[in-house]
């Protein structure tokens, strides 16, 4: 089983549309995972049934028992995150500011502070509209540890793919270069970077590729909306050549991307022309490239 992660650095380049198309085309060969847990959208295209749902507990946050608290203020003094203000003469924990380090609980002289585990979201195992398995999640608002939920989704998807003897896990990664992306990349066999020819798209491509290099994962690149700025597309092509990143496809600026999405469809279900053909070829190419990886 090989793990393919689709990332982008910059948001809105078409990462999820590409991933869903691969998930659709992959059919019975793949398990799909949505690791963009902050803004999980792939379910809108893959129509999973949410058959199995589980709470995700991760990390702890401080809680002060007002009955026990003697308002000595030591916790507030030690807290580096200014998470314990005094409201109505009572020390309280501001949940959105608390990092869960537990320092306050350890030094409270009357043991008034506990550190209960937090339900930070839910995760699901579903069957999609093409009858393959999809693992996905929903992170709670302002929750910490999105990296841990990403790892959970990814590992479950991997375990299921191995059990069902699937050939690939196709993973929608997260934007950025921080902890959720690091979690989605770790252990991957191949990564597809979806970019666009804008100054910001190119800038983010270079940054996220620095991260990919650290993981020593082979990469391929899809340039979306390549015709919006031919000059930058050329620069991206040169960058791909220099860095030995496989150029998988250049997709045209096409509102069918959005039209398909509006109908809850993947591009390959909706489009009948160039876009569909290029997407089908991309999936074939990605499979070949991944199978060459040791």
């Amino acid at each position: 089983m090989k793990e393919i992660v689709i990332i982008s650095g910059k948001g809105g380049t078409g990462k999820t549309s590409v991933t869903a198309s691969f998930g659709f085309l992959g059919g019975q060969d793949v398990v799909v995972a949505d690791c963009d847990v902050d803004a999980a959208d792939m379910h809108l295209l893959m129509k999973p049934d949410f058959a199995q749902s589980e709470d995700f507990y991760s990390g702890v946050l401080a809680e002060i028992n007002p009955e026990k608290c003697i308002q000595c203020g030591l916790c507030a003094e030690k807290c580096r995150f200014d998470a314990i203000p005094v409201i109505n003469k009572q020390h309280v924990v501001k949940k959105l500011d608390c990092e869960g380090c537990g320092y306050c609980a350890k030094i409270c002289p009357v043991e008034a502070i506990t550190m209960p585990e937090q339900n930070v979201g839910d995760w699901y195992i579903s069957t999609t509209k093409v009858d393959n398995t999809m693992v996905h999640a929903k992170l709670g608002i302002g929750a910490e540890n999105s990296g841990k939920l990403v790892a959970k989704v990814k590992n479950e998807a991997k375990a299921i793919a191995e059990k069902q003897q699937k050939k690939f896990t196709v993973i929608d990664g997260s934007p950025g270069v921080g902890c959720p992306v690091v979690s989605s990349l770790s252990g991957a066999d191949f990564t597809v970077i979806v970019t666009e020819p804008s100054v910001s798209g190119f800038h983010d491509l270079k940054r996220v590729y620095e991260l990919v290099k650290k993981f020593k994962i082979s990469a391929g690149c899809i340039i979306n909306k390549y015709d919006i700025n031919q000059e930058i597309t050329d620069k991206i092509m040169n960058f791909l050549r220099d860095e030995k990143i496989e150029h998988i496809a250049s997709l045209p600026y096409d509102e069918n991307f959005t039209r398909a999405m509006t109908l809850g469809k993947t591009i390959v279900e909706f489009d009948e022309g160039e876009l569909k053909e290029k997407m089908v070829n991309s999936w074939t190419k990605v499979k070949q490239l991944v199978n060459h990886e040791k």
Partner: protein
């Protein structure tokens, strides 16, 4: 006045709006623009200015002092993030996991884990015509954006008083980095697009700002694309829509070149004017 520009979904046009709005407003008043999307800062590609100041930003991490350590194991017990591990006769510190809570250091009975600074990124401060632009880059490989966002805001608060109009280009998503970037804002503009992804992520973003008890409004980007469901949702929930930026390929092309849009597209300028009027009302 601090205005945060945010969105659940990435790529809806936060940076486009932040950079253009800041440049537009700076024609009439001093503006501070901060790029708080420290993982992928892009506003700087649109705003030109003279480099005023640059600072390396550090976070505090413990450093093991072998000489005085008695290997009592307290530090490992006191770290909730597995950033301090006792391995045989030595203590290992994993800086990327450390949240700088100081618990291991201050609770060490022999003071063997003093806190030292470690580089996490870089802040740059540019100044142009009536506009100050501040951006921070998180070093690639650093996992935690929050402390750098916090320090960037702190820098701005120290350098500019409350009279300045501050625009914060926030990171995407709904987790800790967005909270850090928006929690001190007076007003939040949520940028979305009229598509199913846009709507889905807008709903999450709305929940987030409600949790923060912030006043907010929506700007619809690429209006005309997709469907009407974002409009319906905002109307049903009494969420003000302060501007609708039309879906024009020309805008995508200008953006791709890193140029300001309002200078070239009158329809875009009109929408900025609506936002600016709304902000001015909010300020009063």
């Amino acid at each position: 006045m601090r205005i945060a520009i945010a969105s659940g979904k990435g790529g809806t046009g936060k940076t486009t709006l932040s950079a253009n709005l800041a440049a537009f407003l700076s024609k009439t008043e001093p503006v501070v623009l901060a790029d708080l999307d420290v993982e992928e800062p892009n506003s700087g590609l649109f705003i030109k200015g003279k480099l005023e100041n640059e600072e390396v930003k550090y976070k505090m991490i413990p450093e093991w002092n072998e000489e005085t350590c008695t290997l009592c194991g307290e530090c490992q017990k006191n770290c909730n993030f597995n950033a301090v591990i006792q391995l045989g006769p030595q203590i290992l510190v994993f800086p990327e996991l450390c949240h700088s809570c100081y618990a291991c250091s201050e609770l060490c009975p022999t003071d063997s884990l003093p806190m030292v600074s470690q580089r996490m990124g870089e802040l740059k401060h540019y100044s142009g015509n009536n506009i100050a632009f501040i951006e921070s880059h998180l070093d690639v490989g650093q996992e935690q954006a929050v402390p750098l966002i916090g320090q960037t805001i702190q820098y701005i608060e120290e350098k500019f008083d409350d009279k300045a109009l501050k625009i914060y280009d926030s990171p995407p998503g709904t987790s800790c980095p967005v909270i850090e970037a928006t929690k001190d804002a007076d007003f939040i503009i949520l940028v979305t697009e009229p598509t199913p992804f846009g709507l889905h992520d807008l709903k999450i973003a709305v929940e987030t700002v409600k949790e923060l008890h912030k006043s907010f409004a929506v700007v619809i980007n690429r209006y005309g694309l997709g469907d009407e469901k974002v409009l319906d949702y905002c109307n049903e929930n009494d969420i003000p829509i302060i501007a609708k930026i039309p879906n024009l390929r020309q805008i995508a092309e200008i953006y791709s070149r890193g140029e300001l849009i309002f200078e070239q597209v009158p329809e875009f300028r009109d929408e900025l004017l609506k936002i600016s009027d709304y902000i001015k009302k909010e300020m009063d």
